[in-house]
């Protein structure tokens, strides 16, 4: 669940209030406010759309974790998506491998299962 909006980084643009699909946030005087935490589904969309890297979503979707340490993680979601780059050409070139990798994993499991059946 969303845990913190870092006051020093937030420019109060309210983009996170706009993009949150479950309307968790309200606008506030210095930064947006986490107004409806129970509606947060831990989808990270607020982080992805925050170009100030000012939001930290803690990993547990069932329990709020206000004390979790955000520092190492700020901006990682946005960088991993390539949304920090001015030109996104080519940044989805690995995407075609998703289907084949899903299949390869399933094959690995099926072969292992067969081998175990034979050894019993």
């Amino acid at each position: 669940m969303i845990a913190q909006i870092i006051t020093d980084k937030c420019n109060n643009c309210a983009q996170c209030v706009t993009v949150c699909p479950t309307f968790v946030l309200d606008e506030g005087p210095q930064t947006p406010m986490i107004a409806r935490i129970e509606a947060c589904q831990t989808c990270y969309m607020c982080e992805l759309y925050c170009d100030q890297d000012a939001i930290f979503v803690a990993p547990d979707q069932f329990n709020a974790e206000p004390g979790a340490d955000p520092l190492a993680h700020l901006g990682v979601i946005r960088r991993d998506h390539g949304w920090d780059r001015p030109d996104q050409t080519g940044y989805l070139d690995d995407y075609r491998k998703l289907g084949p990798l899903l299949g390869e994993g399933a094959e690995i499991a099926a072969r292992r299962y067969q081998a175990q059946r034979r050894s019993v």
Binding site: P21, V76, D94, K97, L101, G103, A109
Partner: protein
């Protein structure tokens, strides 16, 4: 103060199907309003996922082979003509997003179109819909449909969450694109997928079809629903470190049943150390949301064992939804269309999950088809002045008895338990369906008798009612289908029955009815 707006085509919902419908309707010359419960671009299950699309080059024999394979998977309930249409539309229109979506390389000098990453895909659909001229109203959940004196659906009424004002939009045609119903299982992205459109349509007398085909499941760390790419090769252990006997993912129902039953006893741990080597360096580029729940807990996804949970996918990867009355996605209610996961996908997926590729092609195609058809119907009716219309919603709005506080959280939990509870869901029989039906009928009576709210609270109460209604249709349909077929598994009827290879409708709110149907349109 109520916000009053008027348009040709009103689209309720803001996911894939809504996006494609908005583009098609606006391109056909209609004024279009998209009213979404969340933000069109992040709403629903697509934005956090990575939909592949059914993708076959326009070669006669390739397409025929693909349709034959898909018809076999559909187990007698698919429709080859619908399959051919969605293959055609997907092939023609998905590449049209190129100005807004950075399609990657196919590794052979060409462009890879069929699989798209959800957050960029939904961002692109929003941009394309705006460019086509659609007006988008974010955080504008719909509450009920309006019907005029002629019996036509004439728009909807809802609540603007940020403005804290009710809205009323009069339209010549209305398209329901509200997605499937995940029954608040916690599946990532599905918090807003509560089946709202299905409740609204049922109040207009529309039936549903295919609701018995489900549920399917998505495995994730127990603390957060994520995408499932790294799990296909997983080894599973019990809490004592003993390897569990889990049939591989190809086994489908048997795989999920073995995992679900093991989870009843104690935590199940996943070990991804045998996941494909090639995945490790690129996982965060393909599915950037997947590593975060691990890194933020200090867990090494490919080395450490961690507890997992099966998240139910409700009707999202099932095939059930609103019944369609014609080949342009009209429902039986005049002026009302249904598309995407809000509609039945049996025409293209039959009894099996259209999960991934086929459902995505359906969302795109049903959106294009309904968008264009609604635009034409609206333009033909543009000259008429809006007739008086009134809201037709009942549950949560006009209770039958005295108003009483409703514990929505307790109701969500009960619905999720009845639909997704591991103890009964993998071995359903007549008695188990009857028990669940009684529980859910009690929840519905409570809501219909005493539920009443306004504004944002009414939005929540209507979601609660839609969850219960969706669960009742699902279980009534499953109880009526006395066989196993596709995603529908019964312990008391473990085999398919050839005489039951037809679609089945379910309808009603206070009393639920089921009826068998034959294919009406080719």
């Amino acid at each position: 103060m109520t916000i009053h707006l008027e348009t040709d085509v009103l689209i309720i919902g803001g996911g894939m199907a809504a996006g494609w419908a908005a583009i098609a309707a606006a391109q056909a010359g209609a004024r279009v309003i998209v009213a979404d419960k969340g933000y069109m671009g992040t709403s629903g299950v697509t934005a956090m996922g990575g939909p592949n699309h059914w993708w076959v080059a326009p070669d006669k024999s390739l397409r025929e082979e693909a349709i034959a394979r898909q018809s076999a998977k559909a187990q007698g309930l698919g429709d080859p003509d619908w399959m051919a249409r969605i293959l055609d539309l997907t092939w023609r229109y998905l590449p049209s997003l190129a100005p807004h979506y950075p399609f990657g390389s196919d590794g052979a000098g060409g462009t890879y179109y069929s699989g798209v990453r959800g957050s960029e895909y939904m961002r692109a659909l929003r941009a394309a819909a705006l460019e086509a001229g659609a007006q988008i109203l974010d955080h504008h959940p719909a509450i009920e449909l309006l019907r005029d004196a002629e019996g036509r659906i004439a728009g909807a009424r809802g609540h603007a969450l940020r403005h804290k004002q009710d809205w009323e939009i009069r339209s010549k045609t209305t398209i329901l694109a509200t997605g499937g119903n995940a029954f608040r299982s916690g599946l990532i992205g599905s918090h807003t997928n509560t089946g709202d459109g299905q409740l609204m349509a049922a109040e207009a007398g529309v039936a549903l079809s295919g609701m018995e085909f489900g549920p399917s499941w998505s495995i994730s760390p127990a603390w957060a629903s994520t995408r499932t790419l790294p799990y296909t090769g997983a080894i599973y252990y019990d809490a004592g470190g003993r390897e569990l006997d889990i049939p591989p993912i190809y086994a489908g129902h048997a795989h999920n049943r073995a995992l679900g039953h093991a989870m009843l006893d104690e935590p199940v741990l996943a070990d991804l150390s045998q996941a494909p080597q090639a995945l490790r360096p690129i996982l965060r580029r393909i599915q950037p949301f997947t590593p975060a729940p691990f890194e933020r807990r200090g867990v090494d996804i490919f080395r450490d064992r961690f507890p997992v949970k099966l998240f139910g996918e409700g009707t999202i990867r099932g095939t059930g939804g609103l019944d369609l009355a014609d080949a342009e996605c009209r429902t039986s209610a005049p002026g009302l269309f249904a598309i995407g996961d809000a509609a039945t996908r049996e025409w293209v997926a039959g009894a099996n999950s259209g999960g991934g590729a086929v459902n995505s092609a359906w969302a795109l195609s049903s959106g294009r088809i309904a968008g264009a058809a609604a635009a034409h119907e609206s333009l033909a009716r543009r000259d008429g002045a809006p007739a008086p219309a009134r809201g037709i919603g009942r549950v949560g709005i006009t209770p039958e008895q005295a108003e009483r506080a409703i514990d929505s959280t307790a109701i969500y939990r009960e619905v999720d338990h009845q639909i997704h509870g591991y103890a009964h869901v993998f071995s359903r029989d007549e008695a188990s369906y009857a028990t669940s039906a009684d529980e859910l009928a009690g929840l519905w009576r409570e809501l219909a008798s005493h539920g009443r709210a306004q504004g944002a609270s009414l939005v929540g109460l209507r979601e609660t009612a839609a969850l219960v209604a969706g669960a009742r249709w699902t279980l009534a349909a499953a109880q009526a289908r006395k066989e196993s077929r596709g995603l529908h598994h019964r312990a008391d009827f473990p085999e398919a029955n050839a005489s039951l290879a037809h679609r089945q409708r379910v309808s009603g709110l206070d009393a639920i009815r089921t009826h068998a149907q034959q294919a009406e349109f080719a």
